[in-house]
């Protein structure tokens, strides 16, 4: 039985990452390395207004005074920040206004990833902003969105067309002084998505951004900014993949969400960056700062994430619950296999009265991987009658992996209630045998059990994503019980 299981592990872990191909596209790149000239190069390429160049330069000079954070439960090899290309763009995509002008190679790339940029071919109503390396390739469904005065475009376009909105909100939730990677991103970010939902508008379709790293030696530093005005609603999804390469590649993103009175933003992520091979060679270093502010009363932000990729993940999507009665949610499934490392969780900062937050974290560790939950729940003095419920579950597959929990709870008033539950479990031989006895082989049984374990989170994903996520869990983990 045990040797059978080991065979299955080998089979699965030797399986290839499905999205590991490289597209051969002519690229325009910044010279390797990072200095003020690099930043001026990027800013000039994007024809940016002065305020943005100043923002970048300030962030850069602050970053130079900082050191890589060491507090996470991660072994991070030394990163040479001069050995990265900070800007890479497919050459032919300037001045795109219709799909016919997109490089066919690029279209093919996204088709291979299962993302059609040709609107008429899409079955479901999801608007996509496709970003390859440093720039946005194409945003679909612009007309539908324009009817509702919704702005959904690349960050670069937003800087040109809506500089006031960008100036007002950029860095308002995640300042460039927030952390090392936030400072770096603020200095060199190249593109990303921008989304503005006007007052009272319920966005009729799902919005989604698809990130793809393609070029070698490059880093991806994108920035997403979502503003939901009073009484509005939007569901936003984010997906990502990268080619298989022996060297590690850096991804450091920032997502900022601003939500006004009675508005709601749902943010879903399926993160599937290349995780490295089974010996732990290669893979993406994923350092991401995601934070939203519930600025208005009765507002709501929910983060749902399924994290299966990246060699290293460092990510704590959080909510600042400033408006009275505002609600923050964090639902996460994080899978690590082979030599992957994840240190992920959430921050819930309660400032307004009667604010509520929920954290559901489901960690799954297999192989030699390490999976940590790290969370901060802070309830300030003024946040009377606030509540938090946190549930952190870990599922271990095999006996060479690790699961860790680092909760930090800080309550400053007496009327609030904070609950924290944590469990650690293993898939038992009895569960597997029970499935086997019904005719289900061990691989499918593990898929079934893991999906059952993660169901609470998966069911919060938009339908289209849920199916993808389910398959992804199965692929990442089948047979990894040792």
């Amino acid at each position: 039985m045990n040797s059978d299981k080991n065979n299955i592990i080998d089979e699965v872990t030797q399986g290839e990452y499905k999205y590991g191909f490289v597209t051969d596209i002519e690229m325009e790149m910044a010279p390797m390395g990072l200095n003020e000239d690099t930043i001026r190069f990027i800013s000039k390429k994007k024809n940016e207004p002065d305020f943005l160049l100043e923002f970048r330069l300030k962030a850069f000079s602050y970053w130079k005074t900082m050191k890589m954070p060491q507090w996470a439960h991660l072994k991070i090899p030394e990163i040479n920040f001069q050995d990265i290309i900070y800007y890479a763009a497919p050459k032919k995509i300037k001045e795109l206004d219709n799909i016919d002008k997109v490089d066919p190679e690029l279209l093919e790339t996204f088709n291979k990833l299962g993302i059609s940029l040709e609107e008429q071919k899409r079955l479901t109503g999801v608007a996509v902003d496709a970003i390859i390396d440093s720039v946005s390739v194409k945003t679909t469904f612009q007309d539908t969105l324009a009817k509702h005065d919704i702005i959904f475009c690349s960050f670069t376009e937003a800087v040109q067309k809506h500089p006031d909105l960008v100036k007002k909100y950029l860095g308002s939730v995640v300042t460039y002084t927030d952390n090392f990677f936030a400072a770096l991103n603020s200095a060199v970010f190249s593109d990303g998505s921008f989304c503005y939902i006007p007052k009272g508008v319920r966005c009729p379709i799902e919005l989604s951004t698809y990130f793809r790293i393609n070029a070698a030696k490059t880093g991806q530093f994108e920035r997403t900014l979502i503003i939901a005005e009073e009484g509005s609603y939007v569901s936003y999804m984010e997906g990502c993949t990268a080619p298989m390469r022996d060297e590690n590649q850096m991804h450091a993103a920032i997502v900022e969400i601003i939500v006004m009175d009675d508005a709601e933003v749902k943010y879903s992520t399926v993160q599937n960056w290349y995780p490295g091979n089974k010996e732990g060679k290669g893979g993406i270093y994923n350092f991401v700062t995601k934070r939203g502010i519930c600025k208005g009363k009765n507002s709501k932000i929910s983060w749902t994430q399924v994290e299966t990729g990246s060699a290293i993940t460092w990510k704590y999507p959080g909510c600042i619950l400033k408006g009275d009665n505002s609600v923050g949610e964090f639902n996460s499934v994080a899978v690590t296999n082979n030599y992957q490392q994840a240190d992920t969780g959430s921050k819930m900062i309660h400032i307004g009265k009667n604010t509520k937050s929920t954290i559901i974290s489901k960690g799954i560790s297999a192989g030699h991987s390490n999976n940590s939950y790290r969370g901060l729940v802070k309830i300030s003095k003024k946040a009377e009658n606030s509540r938090n419920f946190s549930q952190c579950d870990s599922l271990l597959l095999g006996d060479k992996c690790g699961a860790h929990t680092f909760p930090n709870i800080n309550v400053k008033n007496k009327s609030s209630v904070v609950e924290h539950e944590a469990t650690t479990s293993k898939i038992s031989d009895d569960q597997l045998f029970y499935c086997n006895q019904r005719g289900i082989d061990t691989e499918s049984a593990i898929g079934l059990i893991v999906n059952g374990y993660a169901r609470e989170v998966l069911k919060k994903l938009p339908m289209e994503f849920a199916v993808e996520a389910q398959k992804l869990l199965q692929i990442s983990l089948e047979g990894s019980v040792g």
């Binding site: 059978d4 009895d430 045998f433 499935c435 086997n436 059990i449 169901r455």
Partner: protein, 252 residues
């Protein structure tokens, strides 16, 4: 002959539990296996189903004319062997509906059939739920999670009905059941009895055998079948206990 077990020896972690057991079951028959605690009844059941740590050190299990000693448990299931567990495990987050659909499709794939269609599957579920008298909402719940003892056992019978096995082994399905649940379990078995399929019912009590009338009753003691007889043997055991069997065994 459907099942033919010859001189079977089974060890768990080096300790021999089943010590030279013979048992023959024909299609259409119901066999009851009785005996005191710790004599190897559950070990026999799990060895037939193919649980990993139950090592066959000697002898053979012949099922449908094939030696299945080394057949993986999922293939034994797909060949029509069903085990109703004494302690069914919980699988959180996996609904019975999803679980059964996965199982049925794996059976069908093994037989070279396409996956079952949604309407066909749902109709089958409704049909079998009625047959085994289980509540409709039970199948929306996660497999055995938070089930009462009775619900767990009824769920086992429901799964048996869905998978339509040729050989069903019920391991103390009656233990811990109240009289109503016992009747439901027994009715389920009786309705599923055909000329083709067979049952091996492991039980401590004669009570279940009042509802499911066996063709043969065997007494398992110290890893062997020490006495076999017709249904009257069960009544005799109920009246006299197992001591006379132990004495008889020790004298031989």
């Amino acid at each position: 002959m459907l099942l033919n077990i010859r001189n079977l020896h089974v060890s768990i972690e080096g300790k021999e539990i089943v010590k030279g057991l013979d048992l023959s079951v024909n299609n259409g028959e119901v066999h009851a296996i009785m005996g005191p605690n710790g004599t190897g009844k559950s070990t026999l059941a799990l060895a037939i189903a193919g649980k990993g740590e139950y090592t066959i050190t000697q002898g053979e299990i012949i099922y449908k004319g094939k030696n299945i000693n080394n057949m993986p448990p999922e293939d034994r299931a797909r060949e029509g062997i069903f085990l109703g567990f004494q302690y069914p495990v919980e699988i959180p987050g996996v609904s019975i509906t999803n679980f059964m659909r996965t199982a049925i499709n794996e059976h069908r794939e093994y037989k070279g059939l396409p996956p079952i269609s949604a309407p066909e599957f749902l109709a089958k579920m409704e049909d079998k739920k009625k047959l085994v008298e289980i509540q409709s909402k039970l199948t929306n719940r996660s497999v055995n999670e938070g089930f009462s003892g009775g619900e767990k056992k009824k769920n086992e019978i429901f799964q048996m009905a869905m998978l339509e096995p040729t050989l069903s082994i019920l391991d103390e399905t009656d233990s811990g059941l109240d009289i109503d649940a016992l009747r439901v379990v027994a009715n389920g078995v009786n309705k599923l009895r055909t000329k083709e399929n067979a049952f091996v019912i492991i039980t401590h009590y004669q009570r279940l055998l009042e509802y499911i009338v066996p063709d043969f009753v065997h007494v398992l003691y110290d890893g062997r079948i020490v006495k076999s007889g017709g249904k009257r043997l069960a009544v005799e055991l109920e009246e006299k206990g197992y001591d006379w069997i132990k004495k008889e065994f020790e004298m031989n």
